[in-house]
């Protein structure tokens, strides 16, 4: 426990100091890494702890991005818009969870996959509010320089990541985390022994949505322009899963390790071969599933 806190603080110190010594390319990479970390840690709640194969990350991300963007269009300030995006994502996750979490296995997976598609269609056709297929421009924050802006969004994303990490940390040590692990192992047995499975699963789903929603809103402000196919991209869901699988599902640091590894691969290998980018992602997934289904951290010494 104490060691865990120390590791976490050391990591945080490094992440806080990072923008001081690097150029804007690395800053951008760092911001993306934190965003991926949020996606992976969030998926870990529902996919890693509860064992439900959710593909809803893209839906939460897009919903958050649009909630934040539309709120700012109506004149709300950026921070309020981001918080609002979190609230919208959480409420949506709650409603969706009550409906979908009664399904299991493939049915749940595909139903959650479909949600992003439906939201994209709706956003596409609600032209008045969202600009439809033309996309939506966001106000550019007034700051001294472009570098300041980049640093600002790095710290904003870091804030979301810290929130998500704290939530994972707290959940793992709480009744909720214990209940979720029971559900993953045997849902019927957990139900019989008095775990309120519906409530627990819905809570996990909300946790898996809220930070992704905020991250989506921060992303929207960061890039100043969003359009439906960009923010409702199913690859957000897939990448979240791949990162967690890469690092180790259900663990505290696994999703973070996975996010760093994944981004390194994405940036160092694939950016040189842009035309085979998705194919390489596919290959990575296939290799991962075939040879490393328990993640990198499964190889730690002293772990079964």
């Amino acid at each position: 426990m104490k060691q865990g806190v120390l590791t976490g603080l050391a990591l945080l110190a490094i992440l806080c100091a990072l923008p001081l010594g690097v150029d804007s390319y690395w800053l951008r990479l760092g911001t993306t890494m934190l965003m991926y970390g949020v996606l992976a840690m969030s998926w870990n709640f529902i996919g890693g702890m509860a064992g439900y194969p959710s593909f809803a990350s893209a839906a939460f991300f897009g919903l958050g991005a649009y909630a934040g963007a539309v709120a700012q269009k109506f004149g709300l300030s950026m921070f309020i818009a981001w918080s609002l995006a979190g609230v919208v994502a959480a409420m949506f996750a709650a409603a969706l969870g009550f409906a979908l979490l009664r399904l299991r296995g493939h049915y749940f997976a595909i139903a959650s996959l479909v949600v992003a598609e439906v939201l994209r269609e709706i956003v596409n056709s609600a032209t008045d509010l969202t600009g439809g297929g033309k996309g939506l421009n966001l106000p550019v924050p007034q700051m001294a320089s472009i570098d300041d802006q980049a640093r600002f969004f790095y710290y904003a994303m870091l804030g979301v990541a810290v929130l998500a990490f704290s939530a994972v940390f707290a959940t793992q040590r709480s009744r909720l985390g214990f209940g979720l692990r029971c559900i993953r192992q045997n849902e019927s047995a957990a139900d019989m022994l008095g775990v309120n499975v519906t409530l627990y699963k819905v809570n996990a789903f909300i946790l898996s949505g809220v930070f992704v929603g905020i991250a989506g809103a921060v992303y929207a402000s960061w890039v100043h322009y969003i359009e439906p196919p960009d923010v409702f991209d199913v690859l957000y869901s897939v990448k979240a899963i791949v990162m967690v699988l890469l690092g180790g599902a259900g663990t505290l640091y696994g999703p973070l390790v996975g996010a760093v590894l994944f981004l390194s691969l994405e940036e160092l290998v694939w950016r040189n071969y842009i035309s085979v980018h998705t194919g390489m992602l596919g290959l990575l997934i296939v290799l991962l599933v075939l040879f490393l289904p328990k993640g990198i951290l499964a190889f730690r010494p002293g772990r079964a």
């Binding site: 064992g51 979908l100 399904l103 479909v114 899963i241 791949v242 998705t278 992602l281 596919g282 296939v286």
Partner: protein
């Protein structure tokens, strides 16, 4: 009168949908694997028909005869080499595996065929058939009838042939089938091969109606999934009923709400059916 026209459109669409979904449903039902590749197999079958028509002048309906064995072999090999290793793994892993393979296939098709939309145009055109006030394009009607014939063949294969009965046996009870001397691994590969064959064979049919592009498979995959949920899993009649139901719902939905909401409508229908009747309209636990 418009109602009859829409109904006819829906039925034509539904016949094609049944063909798309029957193979997907078979793989899902027997292997408990969601084959994300299914949509891309359809598109690949479409490209095969397109190039056979453009380069060699082969009629797209005839290229089914080329596509079917090719896709069967590819599906058999894929299951034997890769998917059989993961067959007992959790849902997420098998789903991710076929998803990864699909990303590779899509990327490959994008490189090989470019992102251009292509359209197979029959020469001479087949014209239209007028039944009183209802007008049906002959090429669509022929495609639908062929699709239904293919689906019917699959049904016959499963219910009459020795190998088909073995597939059904594995679906009903894996262990018992193994005890009766069925080689489950081989039947897994046969099943996946049959699923790929149905996808590859419906590609040329759809190519005569819809434009082809490398990433169009996602739409077909979504439809196959909705149909399986509507009709119930793993049975050919279920895919038939689900396909025709979806065809009719989409046609009337396009009329009432506008065609841009067709996808949303079918997915909402999916979610409602999943919640109200998760076994589907014809669903039962066992096979027919």
């Amino acid at each position: 009168m418009l109602t009859f026209q829409i109904l006819a459109n829906g039925l034509v669409l539904g016949g094609l949908y049944a063909c798309i979904a029957s193979g997907f449903s078979l793989v899902w039902g027997v292997l408990n694997v969601i084959n994300i590749l299914h949509g891309s197999f359809i598109v690949l079958g479409g490209y095969l028909a397109f190039y056979a028509h453009a380069e060699l002048g082969v009629h797209p309906f005839l290229s089914i005869l080329i596509a079917a064995p090719l896709f069967y072999a590819a599906g058999y090999a894929l299951q034997g080499a890769l998917i059989n290793r993961m067959i007992a793994a959790p849902v997420l892993l098998t789903l991710s595996l076929t998803f990864g393979l699909d990303l590779m296939l899509q990327n490959g098709m994008l490189l090989a065929f470019t992102a251009d939309f292509r359209k197979l145009i029959l020469d001479p055109p087949l014209g239209v058939l007028a039944l009183g006030p209802v007008v049906i394009p002959v090429d669509r009607l022929a495609a639908m009838l062929l699709a239904l014939a293919l689906t019917g063949l699959l049904y016959l294969l499963l219910s009459r042939s020795r190998i088909g009965r073995a597939v059904v046996a594995v679906r009903m009870d894996r262990e018992a089938a193994a005890l009766m001397g069925v080689s489950v691994k081989r039947i897994n590969a046969v099943t996946f091969g049959l699923g790929a064959m149905m996808a590859g064979a419906s590609g040329p049919l759809l190519a005569t109606i819809y434009p082809i592009s490398p990433l169009a498979g996602t739409v077909y995959l979504g439809k196959a999934f909705v149909i399986c949920v509507l009709g119930g899993l793993g049975s050919v009649p279920g895919a038939m009923v689900g396909g025709i139901a979806l065809g009719i719902v989409e046609s009337f939905g396009a009329l009432w709400f506008g065609p841009e909401h067709a996808t949303t409508l079918s997915f909402l229908l999916l979610i409602v059916v999943l919640l109200v009747r998760p076994t589907g309209l014809l669903g039962r636990k066992g096979y027919e």
